[in-house]
Each structure stands twice: as structure tokens, then as C-alpha cells.
């Protein structure tokens, strides 16, 4: 499938999710490593992905990137600017980059991400990389979509208090201390190692990088690949994919129910749900227009 066809299908998945089932059914089921990059705004996720793409390409691998930026809760518009950091790959036929707006999804991604990732796996990319919006502390959906999650940090992030807080700090397989060319990075690195050791976690998976000068990128990519291979050789990958399926299902269920809920008019919330479920059971048939 060429880039144009893939791009058109992604648009369909995003705009008409009820057709996703039909679209994806026609494609072979296929799995490849899905790697998530998350972290606060401006820590260097996109620049890092640019470097990771370069590394994977030099190993002859094809790469698809989905980069999510926030939609405005006021205008519903979005400024999608992650691509700016990945310019050197625009003409590479082995690289497909798609910017996506979060469209109201609260987990740091976009509701159609499950379908889109499935599509990108099916059409044969060797790697799928996902960039979340710049996250605060609570947006953890990437955990359910990606097999390996890299949490990108950079100086100015905070101190041990931030490391102790629940949420994004808990979902990482790999901690990337980026902007290592800048002052203040060693102390973050040391604190992180200290924290992980203290928490009984694997302090090995902390990597210092500079997405600007490329240092540490080779090590980061090696860690990611090793980790994914480990997962694939054990039961871990199967578990992760099961978890992804479960969250995909939940997302679909929520969206579907919401649609029916918006059509009922009841003073009683319990009755509202009952009515919506009743309508839904009567009408629901995905992929035949009935889902709409």
C-alpha cells in the first residue's frame, strides 16, 4: 500500500470510526514493535524520534510515526507541529509521518489511535513510533497502546517529589534523560537512578541522550529493541496486546454508548442509561451503517 492510500485510510479511521472494522478486516493481521514516547511539553520527544528514525533507517528498517498534539478545547482546532523536528525524513519512502490532533481524548492520544496503529502494523512497517501530546502527570493511555514506553525527561522537570508522584512516572519501561548537553542533567540522572533503585525497579533502563547532538541514541534504540525482543520471547508481549485489546474495546464501548446517550432525553440518569443501552442493543451492527 502506498503512502497516499495509507494516509486516506487514516483519515477515514479518524473521521468515520464506525467504518474501522470493515477497513481493518480486509487487511492481514500483523504485529511489529510499537514504541511510545511520552513526557512533558518541550522535553524533546519529537527531536528524539527524529534521531530514532535515523538510527532505525540506517539499519534498513521502515518506520511509521504518529505524533499527537492537543486540540483546543475551545475552538476544536489544533496546531500540529511535531513534524517540524523530523524534516530530514520527509523524502524518505521508508518513513511515514502522520500528525494527529487529540480531538478531546484525555489520555494524551486520540481515540482512533488503536485503529490507526493496527493499520500501520498491518501494512508492513517494521516499527511504529507514537508521540503523545506533552503530558502532565495523569495521561497514561500510551501504556495501553505501545509495547515499550519511553518517558522523556529533561532538566527543569522537578526533583524527587515529582519522581514519587503517581501517573506517567509509573508507566515507563525506559527513562530517557534528554538534553544531556545542558547543565543540570546529571543531577536529574542521579536522582532518577536513586529513586528507581529505592523503588526496587530496574535502574538499567535509564538512558542519557542528547537529541540535538545524537549522543546516547544508539544506546536508547538498542535498549528499546532488546526490551521488545524480551517481551516477544516471554509471555509479556501477549499480555500487553491483550491489555491493548481491552482498552480498545473500552474506548469503542464508551464512544458507542455516548452516541446513544446523546439521543435519549430522560430526567433520571439511571433510566437514561437503560434507554440508551436498549436502543443500542436494538440497533447496533458495526460496519453496516448501523453503528452510526
Amino acid at each position: 500500500m502506498d503512502h497516499k492510500e495509507i494516509a486516506k485510510l487514516i483519515t477515514l479511521l479518524e473521521n468515520e470510526p464506525d467504518r474501522a472494522r470493515d477497513i481493518l478486516k480486509k487487511l492481514p493481521k500483523r504485529i511489529c514493535p510499537v514504541i511510545g514516547f511520552t513526557g512533558s511539553p518541550g522535553v524533546g520527544k519529537s527531536t528524539l524520534i527524529d534521531q530514532v528514525i535515523a538510527r532505525l533507517r540506517s539499519a534498513g528498517k521502515t518506520v511509521a510515526v504518529v505524533a499527537v498534539d492537543p486540540s483546543s478545547p475551545f475552538s476544536q482546532g489544533a496546531f500540529l507541529g511535531d513534524r517540524v523536528r523530523m524534516k530530514k525524513h520527509f523524502l524518505d519512502e521508508g518513513v511515514f509521518i502522520r500528525s494527529m490532533a487529540s480531538r478531546g481524548a484525555l489520555g494524551g492520544l486520540n481515540e482512533s489511535i488503536y485503529d490507526v496503529v493496527e493499520l500501520l502494523e498491518a501494512v508492513g512497517f517494521d516499527y511504529v513510533l507514537i508521540e503523545t501530546v506533552g503530558v502532565g502527570q495523569a495521561e497514561v493511555e500510551v501504556r495501553y497502546v505501545a509495547d515499550v514506553v519511553a518517558l522523556v525527561l529533561s532538566p527543569g522537570f522537578g526533583d524527587e517529589m515529582q519522581l514519587l508522584k503517581a501517573g506517567v512516572m509509573e508507566i515507563a519501561d525506559i527513562y530517557v534523560v534528554n538534553k544531556s548537553d545542558l547543565e543540570g542533567n546529571d543531577s536529574l540522572y542521579d536522582q532518577l537512578i536513586g529513586f528507581l533503585t529505592f523503588a526496587g525497579r530496574d535502574a538499567l533502563n535509564v538512558v542519557k541522550t542528547s537529541a540535538l547532538n545524537g549522543s546516547g541514541i544508539e544506546e536508547l534504540v538498542d535498549r528499546i529493541i532488546t526490551l521488545w525482543k524480551n517481551f516477544a520471547e516471554t509471555e509479556k508481549l501477549k499480555q500487553l496486546r491483550k491489555e491493548r485489546l481491552r482498552h480498545h474495546t473500552e474506548t469503542l464501548a464508551r464512544r458507542t454508548l455516548q452516541k446513544y446517550l446523546s439521543a435519549v432525553d430522560s430526567e433520571d440518569p439511571y433510566e437514561g442509561v437503560e434507554l440508551a443501552l436498549k436502543f443500542m442493543c436494538e440497533r447496533l451492527k458495526y460496519g453496516q451503517g448501523g453503528g452510526t
Partner: protein
């Protein structure tokens, strides 16, 4: 639900990106999803981006004086790639005499310095949604 995606690109070598950013920002506030590619894009890069991002409109911002060559190249490549159906807006320092020439090349609309942002938003809507202006031109 259909959401319109617009590519704002800066072809060529000039570093004037203020206009592109201001226009991108205005379109964002008008509810569009704007993909911004940054400075110094070649026509090839712009067309590849338009394909991968499946955009509904391409906006080129050119203040270097090379608008004729650059727009022509972009539209040629669009034809070659089979995406010439996508409307192309051009803005920047465009002498009035060049406007008809740009339109002839296949550019959909042209905007010079000082164009009110509301006019740009309105014309984008016109072209994408078929909404015609009420104020007349």
C-alpha cells in the same frame, strides 16, 4: 465527523515565518487542524507532507520574491502525484501584477501583506465548505 486539515508550509530559503505562523494560529482558532512544517521546505517535501497528512488545503507563505517559480513547482509535483485537486493558497509579498499569473499556474487564491486574518479564514471556509461570503468582495 469531517475535520478539515490544512498544511501551512514555507517553501524556499527566506526566513520570514511570522506570517505563516500568524495564519496558522488564526486557522487553529477558527477550528481547523493545521499542520505546520517550518522553514525552508522544498516543493518535494511539501508535496510529500501533503500526501502523508492527507490535507484538504495547502497554504504556501512566500516572502522571498520567488513565489512564481515555487508555486509552479509545487503544483507540478501535485499533478504528478495525483493530488492536484487540493486547493492551494499563496500568501506573502506578492506584487499585484503576479496575482493573475499565480492563478493561471493553478493557485486557488492569493493574499498580500496586510490581509485581515478574518478574510483568510473566511476564504478558507468558502473553498473548503462551499460557504460563500455574505459581504461580497
Amino acid at each position: 465527523m469531517k475535520k478539515y486539515r490544512i498544511l501551512i508550509a514555507k517553501p524556499g530559503l527566506d526566513g520570514h515565518d511570522r506570517g505563516a505562523k500568524v495564519v496558522a494560529h488564526a486557522l487553529r482558532d477558527a477550528g481547523f487542524e493545521v499542520i505546520y512544517t517550518g522553514l525552508r521546505q522544498t516543493p518535494e517535501q511539501i508535496v510529500k507532507t501533503a500526501i502523508q497528512e492527507d490535507v484538504d488545503l495547502i497554504g504556501l507563505s512566500i516572502l522571498s520574491g520567488a513565489h512564481l517559480q515555487l508555486s509552479k513547482k509545487v503544483i507540478e509535483l501535485m499533478k504528478k502525484e495525483g493530488i492536484a485537486n487540493i486547493p492551494v493558497f499563496v500568501g506573502g509579498i506578492i506584487p499585484p501584477d503576479d496575482v493573475p499569473r499565480l492563478l493561471e499556474i493553478g493557485v486557488t487564491r492569493v493574499f498580500g501583506p496586510g490581509t485581515p486574518l478574518s478574510k483568510i479564514v473566511q476564504e478558507v471556509r468558502e473553498v473548503l465548505e462551499g460557504v460563500t461570503s455574505t459581504s461580497g468582495s
